[in-house]
Symmetry: C3
Subunit: 661 residues, 3 copies
């Protein structure tokens, strides 16, 4: 548990640097990230490096006792480089290169940019790799931001063809895997294959899915290049990248596999505004963020980080980039910080030290205001710094790793597949995964979010949001885990090649779950279907309702199948066979919570219903309680002397931490 | 009355073909459509045909006693052809060629594609034109699907200039006809004229309308080329094309004039989702389709088919291509089938024999599931096959032609003109034509849908939805028909050149209807205008309301004009002069129905108010009743022994057929 | 006070011209605008002018005693010119040239078009500059219509670089002014700078603002070229341009500075439909227009016109170009005409003499119908002509200039800046300026709308809607004016270079208003914040609510700051210091009105609350009252013999004019 900050010495007169460093230290900051957008200052003219200012700024930070997180500056290639190599620019779906003038204006597949990146990364890593103040590295910045993963450039298409050759070996295998016979889309060679864009109607879904897989792999390859250069020149310093909240355009597990630390950039208010939430939900959590949103991301990135994950950028006040940008309620910056630690974070690093008065993000707050007075967020960070010292002093295992009884399987390809091949226009995978997660959290459960190939032993309850493509051994691993397994609709509905399984969905899960999905329907937003629980005393009332989607389920082994809920028209809505629970639809929040509570009990996992605005997390011997609501929450059953932070009465935006054992 | 199916032998192992053919026959299928997307299998390499598989599949079908509907494969030119002739690709309004990778990626005006189409059509027609199993032909597939009628390619512009020369002869005539003087848009030669696209503000409406007429004519020309090749090589086999539901981007009458059979592809649930209906209407008829939608299309295509029209593709279960895709209620596939026959169909052909597990339409149901079990739709098709035998055995004239007392005039140019020149953003011609049709159907009336140049004698009631451009003799033909004539607003509002008639609307109808529309207004969706019927006892209540549009009507012969309804501000809303009834607005559904009922009575046409969910059709000596609702409908006044199918109590999704005489 | 009309002799047979001119004169028309779209008739072939028809039409008008407003025809370059110089076409944000086929298809920065314009303007001005019938000139037509101010052509980019050089002199100055260091966007020379378009995410806001300033300056330069040519050849004739209602894409003050008369085109119903108003507001004022909309524009253009402003085009009936186009209520054309005169207009000129039956605007009414009968608007124009004679005869100072006690500061850069850099997606500057104006008008106040550099002495109340960039001397001028000053939120929030002021907002106003905006938040449409007035008796009720935006205010001199209202969370919502009133949010209409009423009283300005549908204006010794509502409005306290037009009871759509002294 420690605090960090993002700092841009190039934004400020050199005369301010020493004072800035001293203030950081005084506030309780331990690490400082720098230089991720500084290429034009590092190399103002082609081949002529200006290291002086950067040397001095690192020296100043180091002299103040701060650890530097050094970045490669590749997110912002300078104008002279673009003018020399216009093929660096990514190409949009409209066939036009995207222009210089903001950031991330590069194509992951551009050979020019790959070479230029190798050169600048090597230069930076050589110069600072062994500098005593440099403790960590960050590659680039927010891969994929502003829809930059997928490019339709000639370079990308060329590399896609190579990628296809490596995957399918012969064109006949590809034609069969994709089913190109359908509309005479058969190819005679890999060189006939273009990007799946600008077609008359939707391009072939397998073609599109492979293009997304390819584009994702290009990100991993590009990051790996940087990691290897850094490791060669800066041995022993962990390498990180700062991922984005709920970002899904590339497979983060694959990129994280090459890193030491997975970090993410947490902007709870901006996210609330920009994500799928309904307008009334956005108003409800306007100045606090959704109680499960940051947590969901903490658990996602914890699940892929070798060292404890970090929040690399923590929202310190209003941001500039959402459609509307409210100010956090007093206390929220503190709450968010503690929530990250409660979920296992090693560091919470605020973006940014001081609000710069110019350019695109001039309206984005920092810990300090543009007039160099400490802002609300800065005060709360100072409070957190003090509280960290209290917690660490009192609890030896405050930095313990987290291990939960509940796992939620989260997958990136699932997002792409359902986006490409939705069948119902609002089938938004991250939303459904989040709704399952949110129900678990409202039951007071700690949740590990894991990839499909994660070890599953040791979990009591495994929840699988709609997962179309199953790894070969998935059914076996689920079965041998001993856990109760909840499967969302559409699970096992596709093969690796995006075809319907020959035995119908849930495909390979049929071996452990004796059912077939013989028909599906998607439901428009103003349509729901009543659901009745079968253990319910006879009544004419529905127990809840289904939304978005229905799987129609049949079985050759009806005896071994326990139908626990039915739709109004009699079709099964929820069936159980042994440890496997199949949900044939996406239910309303209350019904989802009710079903999860029952299954958790069957799994032997104790639940603690919390309502919608209080959340609990456990790390080591400490329990953390967070109040997102607008009324005081009172904890019963906690001894007075157990509290490390706070007390029984948790005010709105309040935090309590107490010893559990 | 017979059943058919669409079949793709190229999708399945040859080992399955014989069993498939046997099962089709057993189920009651008589005709099988094949090969419309098979170009890449017929000619896998330029100039090298692979006929073997197609020969064998036709032989297998023929041997099973099935008749083949053979298709030309031009809807899906293969990749090698596109690579050799990139000018085949149509060009979008954004100036970019649309890409290979789905279907219909061709420009109707491309000389390369015209020649390539002639070649492949000749090859297919030569090989199978006299094959004993080949009974019918289909040209291409769904002309215009995915917005492919209009292209902005250089080839299209070149042919447009020729089309203009043929229409206007001299540039001065064109300049006057269009009124190009308005904004100095005058042309000095036809070669100065471009496509009406990408202009600073809206392009000239006459220019745009002519471009749409030209593009429509290009479709007819292209189809005619195929028909002539087929007729030359396959004499005696009727030639069909499968049109789309409510598709209006080309003049279907002109294309149908070259065919023997007009067929259409009926997807009632997909259509409901994708058309203009309000969300609550979409929810109301979610799993049955709108009770008048398929019927409207049956009557449209019956009106242009020389032989009895067909449903070439009948929805058999959920589809994949709407935004949301619900499953039909049990019984709907049967109901839809019978509804087609009741409206005069010669054949109902299901799309498709078996759901293929791959490519764009893998989620589109068939009569059989991907695991080769018979699906719900398959069972219902089998039921229909049995019922057809019953009906045919009992009724000699079950296949009789239909002749109605009521005609509705339906026009394609009207759609283009109002789209180009709406004056009110929601003036959607097909919707208004459908609303008039729906009111007539709710009154229990059979309706012929006819073009503006159809013979009108013999009808008692002729309903004309907003028809801007009138043929020269239209007023005379209406007057001499002896029918009562209902005219929607904006009728006669434009000349052939898209100008306001010199005598003001309704233009040439002024000779039979002594009124002028001296002003109009369009009404935004949250504005209506109350309407009072003048024969109503004095009350402060409105009898209904006007929507979308108002014509302001004046007359030099007020004595001969019977004002039957007025708007709240006193302007006439409905006037009658002799047999002509002019509606100066678009009324709410209830008022439209009330007016139509009164006029039908004046026309001597008996009405039978049915409400919104039961519909009746008559063919030969049989009356067909369909229940789209969710309550049992009871027929009174039908003798017990008159029923051929069903009985007095018609369950939801039920059908009854009884002898009328 | 006089009437005019827009006339297109080229649309009609020459045989109609004399009768048209006679009818105009008879109706009371005094001036006729012609030829603004006639280039293709003036120069049908390159270099060959056809003056004959235009000579004759001007002679006919002059012979009838009408004054001609002669136009340059540059809004519609003919096709042959475009084909010779395709670089004339402006380039859209998508990088594609916009096409010929409507109007305004030219790039203000095109050297070809500048030269061609000089040539045609010189030709027209030489021929008609001294013609006795030609009394006025109009340059071009509606600069900027259809989004034609900003072009992304190479010519525009080239001239932008020159513009930047002239502004910043060295690239280092530009880099610092913009803050390009932020994302390595630093430039090494002006030639590296492109247009701020097609970037990966938002382009740099300072870059974007400068591009808008540049594009605006290009319009002024282009207009100035025409004005200079006209003045050289037609001395003594005032030169006008017809601006558009609430159009903001260029700085109208700068263009008007080169003109003699600022005129505008008034379409109250089309504007209502196309502007920001909520659907229920659009329905409320459907057939009258919003009571403050035309007035706002009158006051905007009066404020920039050297001679009395005109309405160059007055809506005479339904138009064609809004999404929905209702018909004005009877009397509205008269009311709008009088409202213009009441606000100081020298002329109201109707668009157009007769509705042409062809081309894009065939559904746009004129004073006469296409069948050459006088339309409703024509009758009302005739009524106005008669009333003008009455008014002029009875009141020597009816044409007096208007001078108000209240000024509203209105700025064009503010619109661009907030559009580029909104921070809240619905921060629409003209709407907020209009809401302030509307509140003042509902208090019965006459308002001058003035630029930021206007003299402010003599005003009692100065209202400043959100004004981000302050001129250097603005604070001093406000302070020395002696007026009470109301400042909207975000005032002084940016420097000239679009940076946050070093002392925080309100920047330079801090010298007279001891506060700092230390934080802001934008509020989504379904979020408001309660506001309490501090002088209110204690109650739990809010006095109103804040919308869209909140400034968080602090002060080092709290004693000198009178906090007059607070938000529910305690932050100040409205503070006063001396004559300066700072509003920290945008309040609901009722609260805004209540605050303005109180401040007006403090300013010694008498108010007269009028409700939402009656409006009053004063010019010379006359008071004008307009009734936009649907109930009769009764004037008390006016002597019977004071009425020049109308009487105490003003019917809906009615006008009354009475002598005040």
């Amino acid at each position: 548990m420690r605090l960090g900050v993002c700092y841009y010495p190039e934004h400020w007169p050199e005369s301010m640097w020493e004072d800035d460093a001293r203030q950081m230290k005084a506030l309780g900051i331990e690490q400082v990230r720098i230089a991720e957008f500084a290429w034009s200052r590092i190399e103002p003219t082609p081949g002529e490096y200006d290291w002086g200012w950067l040397d001095r700024s690192i020296d100043v930070l180091g002299a103040a006792g701060l650890q530097v997180v050094m970045c490669t500056p590749t997110a912002t290639p300078p104008k002279w480089l673009i003018d020399r190599h216009p093929d660096i620019l990514p190409v949009g779906a409209d066939g036009r290169p995207r222009a210089f003038g903001s950031r991330r204006h590069y194509d992951f597949s551009s050979p020019s940019y790959f070479a230029a990146s190798q050169r600048i990364c090597t230069a930076v890593a050589e110069r600072y790799g062994k500098h005593p103040a440099v403790a960590y590295w960050q590659t680039d910045n927010e891969f994929g931001c502003h829809h930059t993963v997928v490019s339709y450039s000639p370079a990308a298409v060329g590399r896609f063809r190579e990628w296809l050759k490596a995957r399918y070996h012969t064109i006949d295998v590809l034609n069969r895997a994709w089913g190109t016979v359908f509309w005479s889309m058969e190819y005679r060679s890999f060189d006939e294959i273009d990007a799946p864009v600008a077609t008359v109607t939707e391009a072939h879904p397998s073609h599109r899915l492979d293009y997304r897989r390819f584009a994702s792999d290009e990100v991993a390859r590009y990051n790996r290049m940087q990691v290897e250069i850094i490791r060669a020149h800066s041995p022993g310093r962990p390498v990180a990248h700062n991922f984005m909240q709920l970002f899904t355009e590339f497979d983060h597990y694959k990129v994280a596999a090459d890193l030491d630390v997975a970090t993410w950039d947490s902007y709870p208010l901006g996210a609330l505004e920009e994500q799928w939430f309904a307008p009334e939900v956005k108003a409800r959590w306007l100045r606090s963020g959704h109680p499960d949103f940051a947590s969901f991301n903490h658990d996602v990135y914890r699940g892929m980080s070798k060292l404890p994950f970090w929040v690399m950028e923590q929202q310190p006040g209003p941001v500039n980039w959402a459609q509307w940008n409210p100010a956090p309620l007093p206390g929220m910056v503190r709450l968010w910080s503690w929530e990250a630690f409660a979920h296992g974070a090693g560091c919470v690093s605020y973006f940014r030290w001081r609000q710069a008065p110019f350019a695109q993000e001039q309206m984005h707050a920092g810990l300090n205001r543009p007039d160099n007075r400490l802002d609300v967020g800065g005060n709360e960070a100072a409070q957190v710094a003090g509280e960290i010292r209290t917690v660490l002093a009192a609890n030896a295992d405050a930095n313990a790793a987290i291990r939960s009884k509940v796992a939620l399987v989260y997958d990136y390809e699932a997002k792409w597949l359902f986006e490409i091949h939705p069948q119902g226009a609002d089938f938004h995978y991250p939303r459904f995964a989040f709704e399952y997660y949110s129900a678990l959290r409202a039951l007071g459960l700690d949740v590990d979010i894991v990839p499909v190939d994660a070890p599953l032993d040791g979990y009591c309850l495994i929840v699988v949001p709609p997962l179309p493509v199953l790894p070969t051994d998935f059914a076996a691993r689920l079965a041998s885990s001993g856990a109760q397994v909840v499967l969302g609709p559409r699970t096992g509905s596709k093969t690796q090649d995006l075809q319907i399984p020959a035995n119908l969905p849930p495909g390979a899960l049929g071996s452990v779950l004796p059912l077939r999905v013989w028909r599906v329907e998607s439901m428009r937003p103003n349509v729901t279907e009543a659901v009745r629980l079968l253990n319910n005393p006879a009544s004419s009332e529905a127990d809840g309702f289904a939304r978005h989607w229905r799987d129609f389920v049949e079985s050759d082994a009806a005896d071994s199948l326990d139908v626990r809920a039915r739709f109004a028209d009699g079709h099964p809505a929820y069936v159980r066979s042994g440890a496997f629970h199949y949900l044939a639809s996406l239910f309303d929040d209350a019904l989802t919570l009710r079903l999860f509570e029952r299954i958790a009990q069957e799994a032997g996992v104790a639940t603690m219903p919390l309502g919608d605005s209080v959340r609990v997390s456990r790390r080591g011997a400490l329990t953390y309680v967070f109040n997102y609501g607008d009324a005081t929450h009172t904890l019963a059953d906690v001894a007075d002397d157990a509290f490390v932070i706070g007390s029984h009465a948790i005010e709105p935006q309040g935090v309590a931490v107490y010893r559990t054992r």
